[in-house]
Assembly symmetry: C2
Homo-oligomer: 335 residues x 2
Amino acid sequence: MVNKGNIRLIDIAGKLNITVNTASKALRGKPGVSDETRKAVKKLAEELGYVPNSLAKGLQSGQTFTVAIIFDVLINPYFMIMADKIHQKLKTLGYDTMIFAGEDGKLEINTLKTLLSRRVDGIITFLEPSDDVNSILYNTRIPTVLIGRKNINLNISTISTDDYKGSYEVGKLFITNGAKNIGYIGIPEDIECSKRRLSGLMQSMIDHGVAYNDANFRFMKTPQIADELNELIKNKVDAIFIFNDMLLLEAYIILKDQGIKVPDDIMLAGFDNIQEELPNPLKITTVASDKTKIIETAVNLLFNHINNKEVYEYQHVEFDVELIVGETTKSLISS
Amino acid sequence: MVNKGNIRLIDIAGKLNITVNTASKALRGKPGVSDETRKAVKKLAEELGYVPNSLAKGLQSGQTFTVAIIFDVLINPYFMIMADKIHQKLKTLGYDTMIFAGEDGKLEINTLKTLLSRRVDGIITFLEPSDDVNSILYNTRIPTVLIGRKNINLNISTISTDDYKGSYEVGKLFITNGAKNIGYIGIPEDIECSKRRLSGLMQSMIDHGVAYNDANFRFMKTPQIADELNELIKNKVDAIFIFNDMLLLEAYIILKDQGIKVPDDIMLAGFDNIQEELPNPLKITTVASDKTKIIETAVNLLFNHINNKEVYEYQHVEFDVELIVGETTKSLISS
DNA sequence: TTGTAGGCGTTATCAT
DNA sequence: ATGATAACGCCTACAA
């Protein structure tokens, strides 16, 4: 089947005895078309339900008005919130959104090839690019912004939060509220910010004179938090800083099932403040940042790159954080 | 700028002194190319990082290997869960995913035009199409599946859950546990399944000899549940069936803030069982269905349509539901 | 086995 | 103001 019932410019032109060229210009408000012709074209296009073929347009112009978002799993309130904000913002700019899951927590070559093949105009990724991808991104100058995972070794723009400060504050809060044996559960160690959050926590413990036990600082090897959590329970920690709020919720449920009380037996703190956008019956103690502003900045940065492809100067923007005290940590003890 | 640094078939062909045709066939494993040539082409393509231009491919073939998902807001665990499952499934089939937000809770003409323009191969929508869109979908035979919102007046395939039965069961549970004054909060009334869920609840009350008060059956006019909820609180209901789990969580928080105890003062039940995929500290009483199977069926149905465009026979599939009893309803009273 | 020609739908350029 | 032509990159059909 040749023309699957889609109306083309040539169909309009044919019925009006003009050329596609004229029809094209008429519809796009370009000069050089008489008012009369323009009206006739627009009217007929409307009647026939003409919709321009964006593939042809994209092939011709090299622009697809498409941005790709890369994450690992969408079933993570944080990604979902951010994806929604990005999608909304892009829509106002006339861009559509594709979603892709990376592999092994990275934006790797397979995914990138799809993006290249589809000629997306830009990439917003929540996953660090693998090394080979990083160099391709750099060489091809395809506009890319990495959100949430600062890594100054990468040749791309990044928007991150002040992991170090946030983690430091969490440590301080734990200690102020009586914690003596603090644990940490992060995502795999090769993710820069997972390490950074630990280092903030450790410095906080050092500065506040609380001894730390390396065995209580753990990086997940699987997507499940249970193993690492059980290890910490065995070690009788009284507070755990968890990489993000979703993992915290998983931990909370496991603790609840074991009859361990939060925050009385164990205090918990997370990262992301997902409860800001998502109803959550448990008020989490967490590190927050201005997600809307982050997305705003990320998209602006992306479009800077898109509109100035010759000057590929990547930037690293870091956002301030704020500690939100919820029900998963004790209130100040005045004993 | 003409060729933005992207390698094309002609680049490969040129360096090898063959034609694009041969290069094309070589890369796609088509017969009629000598082993020697094929190897050389593949090697060079690999070295040069050749990636086919999917726009050109799509323009030529009329296939884009793209499916669009339509929802209203992504910040809804249910959509997120479903979107993730769809995306995963599509990926295994070699298709990529675009996401679109409808307007006013419908898949309306603006969004549809974008989909037509992009020549997506199929549409999976969580929103009912508006009337004009429905007829276009029917006329153009663009493969579409509507999930979660059965409406037999639509000319498209739908996958839904047994709203009536689920709601009936909820009513029964409420009543068994002592509810005398039951309320309902649904999304706007023009959404079929919002009405259907109410009717199941009402029938249940009738069958079990519990009087109902129309003033306690409410449909939201804004995205916020607070107004309707406060009305029910005023009316001193002792149980509320809420359209879905996310709204239930919002309601729970509002009740908690007002010092109203769940389930002691008011029982709550929702729909979707989002806690199956998402960690949730509060175990919700909710109506569940097999989401993975639903998505599996939806995607299969979609590809039936895609692969048999001549026979456009839409189907309505309804999935069974199961009542999950959580902490938001009382346990059986034996008084 | 390899090459040539035409077309997918649109836009830009250069005529007329 | 309008038309003709070429190009975007690829694939199919047919020819050599």
